[in-house]
């Protein structure tokens, strides 16, 4: 399959390893990966913060970057950016009264997938031959869980990883407190939510906290690093791409 990587601006700029791992995984499965370099940001931060008008050019840009007929699927190592495209793009285009954009989206949006749902739901693979001998706590990202409804797809992938000690995270589905601009606009509330998430992670004795979204990992990892907690954050894609040396 010819797959276009939707890297997301956050992964592109701050978490390139998640993108590299995604490319490696898809190539190992025999797919041809393209990276449309015209892509920048999907506009989620603008749209979710009340700047819907300012998000519109970014929306149109996304559609231009990914609308090539050669592309059979668009895959992103992020649940919230995919939720933006699949759930919010059609609504924003309709509200803006842009029929051409709405029409293009009706074709494109259903072909945009979050990595774990693409692997399990579209490709039907669970065992990627990964080896990762670490104690891992998995944090389910809110948008992947409640908007994309990825269900247990990421856990099914992680359970097949050899050597992994996957531990149950208490209150796993409680938000980590990132929420985009929420983390800076409501910094104290976000910090309080983060403190409780970190407490849950530390209680498991995990060495690694994994998630589908780098935004959650930015939040959780930022807090763990600041506290010198001795726990690192890793994107699920990187665990799935890890091999026995």
């Amino acid at each position: 399959m010819r797959v276009a990587l939707f890297i997301t601006c956050l992964n592109d700029t701050l978490f390139p390893d998640a993108g590299m791992a995604t490319v490696e995984l898809l190539e190992q499965l025999g797919h041809q990966v393209e990276f449309p370099e015209e892509q920048t940001c999907c506009g989620q931060m603008h749209a979710n913060s009340g700047y819907e008008r300012e998000a519109l050019p970014l929306l149109a840009r996304f559609v231009r970057a990914f609308s090539s007929d050669r592309i059979e699927a668009v895959v992103a190592p992020s649940g919230s950016c995919v939720a933006m495209v699949r759930h919010h793009y059609p609504r924003l285009a309709a509200e803006a009264g842009d029929r051409d954009l709405a029409h293009a989206l009706a074709r494109l949006a259903p072909r945009v997938f979050e990595l774990s749902e693409f692997l399990v739901g579209e490709l039907g693979v669970e065992d990627l031959g990964a080896y990762y001998p670490h104690r891992v706590a998995y944090h389910p990202s809110c948008h992947a869980l409640r908007m994309l409804r990825v269900g247990d797809a990421p856990l099914r992938l992680l359970r097949r990883v050899r050597g992994i000690d996957l531990v149950e995270l208490p209150d796993a589905s409680t938000c980590c407190g990132f929420g985009g601009t929420f983390a800076v606009k409501n910094a104290d509330t976000s910090a309080a939510m983060l403190a409780d998430k970190i407490r849950s992670i530390l209680d498991t004795g995990a060495e690694v906290c994994a998630a589908l979204d780098s935004s959650c990992l930015l939040q959780i990892g930022g807090g763990l690093d600041r506290q010198r907690a001795g726990v690192r954050t890793v994107h699920v894609a990187e665990i799935l791409a890890a091999r026995e040396a």
């Binding site: 490319v23 050019p57 409640r146 409680t174 938000c175 983390a183 409501n186 930022g222």
Partner: protein
């Protein structure tokens, strides 16, 4: 009104509050999940609840006039209040006309919305809350912090101290919940037996029959609606339901979502007056106070579906940390964040739509399927477009500038490089550990920031891109 972030910062510093909230919300959240799991048609019930409420609101005018006819036909009197001050003036005049000086009250958040207690006091009339938690709040001179458990922010030792201070004959009172309830019961019993006027709220009112419904746990509501000579019910116009049979759905959705009970202990239903039995004078005050304007917003109007169960508060990670006072609103939590600004025509509570990480837990539990995250985002847009003030000018300018950068590949790539170069001197081992100025100050207060040595696209160009 202080902004939510500032009010929340204050509340977050109270460790006792954090402990009380965590314990209370988790207990009720878990209990709710258990009783919901008992029903295999819960999702269909939610869908039915959504449809009943949206149908009721679609023809609100018709149902309200039908309600008026039915109530009038059953011997009641219906009053229409376009705004808060008209409503509180109306109720005050009705109380004054009875010659009574004291009023007992139950389950009427809308009276808090219209500022009834202050209006009564200004006319020399005393209001006595009879719902246990509301009584606690009133005795403490405090404000409610939860829709269903208004005193959720207080624990039993704090309540004991309050009762000892304010209720006569409680010097030896222990903090045993049964003893606390007994002390309140003795105090309230005297009020019930002497009151001549009661003010109640309404959970539902049936257009078809003129029946009003109040759902409660303590039985104090039934005392209020049966003992006094005069009963004044104050309700928001969105509480009307077209048909009596609609209660079949609503009375399953509400108790399981609010108190996590299969059925609530007391459901009072009355239709006008019954000669020789119960109140002989019944007034129904229908309050608009911003509801008609809320109804005009196609996305925002679903906030009026709310049946005040408070399930969204109990699962909200923001509410669990800040408590209800941070919202500075009669209606706190996620539902308050979408209802308050709309009822206030965005003049109040402008920062509330941002009081959420958009995690979606509220939408998942709402018994009438209010898509709270979508309404929050919609209201953020309305606040930005229709008002000034919050968010500040610098944020608005920065977001616009950012679109210009992100909307152009060359500028985007330049910005990536510039950010890395600019941040490099501040970093150590690929991380920024110091406190940054400006909008990132809130971030670096409690978090580090990663700073990788290359972007993904740089890696792609070096390792994957075919030569041009």
């Amino acid at each position: 009104m202080t902004s939510f972030p500032a009010a929340a910062s204050y509340e977050l510093r109270d460790p006792q509050l954090r402990h009380n909230l965590r314990k209370a919300t988790h207990t009720i959240r878990d209990k709710r999940a258990r009783v919901i799991a008992e029903l295999d048609d819960w999702e269909q019930l939610r869908e039915a609840g959504l449809r009943i409420k949206s149908r009721a609101l679609r023809h609100l005018d018709v149902h309200l006039e039908a309600l008026e006819r039915a109530v009038t036909g059953a011997g009641g009197v219906v009053h229409w209040a376009p705004d808060a001050s008209a409503a509180s003036r109306l109720v005050t005049d009705l109380v004054k006309a009875t010659g009574a000086t004291d009023v007992i009250k139950v389950k009427a958040m809308v009276t808090e919305e219209i500022g009834l207690d202050a209006a009564l006091a200004a006319s020399g009339l005393r209001a006595h809350e009879t719902d246990l938690a509301e009584l606690i709040i009133q005795l403490a001179g405090d404000r409610s912090s939860h829709i269903l458990v208004p005193a959720i922010h207080l624990n039993r030792s704090e309540i004991r101290a309050l009762f000892r201070d304010r209720l006569p004959g409680t010097e030896e009172l222990s903090d045993d919940p049964a003893a606390l309830a007994e002390a309140a019961r003795r105090y309230l019993r005297e009020k019930f037996l002497t009151a001549r006027v009661a003010v109640s709220g309404a959970n539902f009112a049936i257009a078809e029959t003129g029946t009003v419904c109040v759902v409660e746990s303590e039985g104090n509501g039934r005392m209020c609606t049966t003992l006094p000579q005069t009963l004044i019910t104050v309700m928001g116009i969105e509480k009307v339901l077209p048909h009596f049979k609609d209660l079949e759905v609503m009375l399953q959705l509400l108790p399981r979502s609010s108190t996590a009970e299969r059925m609530n202990p007391y459901t009072s239903l009355w239709t006008g007056i019954t000669p020789g039995d119960g109140p002989q004078e019944f007034h129904l005050v229908l309050v608009d106070a911003g509801r008609s304007e809320t109804l005009a917003d196609q996305v925002g109007r679903q906030a009026l579906h709310c049946i005040r169960c408070s399930a969204c508060l109990n699962v909200c990670p923001v509410y669990e940390r800040t408590g209800g006072h941070a919202y500075q609103s009669v209606y706190p939590g996620p539902i308050g964040a979408i209802l308050t600004p709309q009822l206030a025509r965005l003049k109040d509570g402008a920062s509330l739509p941002w009081a959420s990480s958009l995690c979606g837990a509220c939408y998942e539990v709402c018994p009438v399927k209010i898509d709270i995250p979508t309404v929050l985002v919609h209201l953020r847009g309305r606040v930005v477009r229709e008002t000034r003030g919050y968010p500040g000018r610098s944020e608005r300018a920065a977001m616009r500038a950012l679109t210009a950068v992100l909307g152009d590949r060359r500028r985007y790539e330049l910005a990536q490089r510039a950010a890395r170069l600019g941040a490099w001197p501040l970093s150590r081992d690929g991380r920024i550990e110091c406190r940054l100025p400006g909008p990132l100050a809130g971030w670096t207060l409690v978090r580090d920031l990663p700073l990788p040595s290359e972007t993904f696209r740089e890696w792609w160009r070096a390792h994957r891109r075919a030569e041009p």
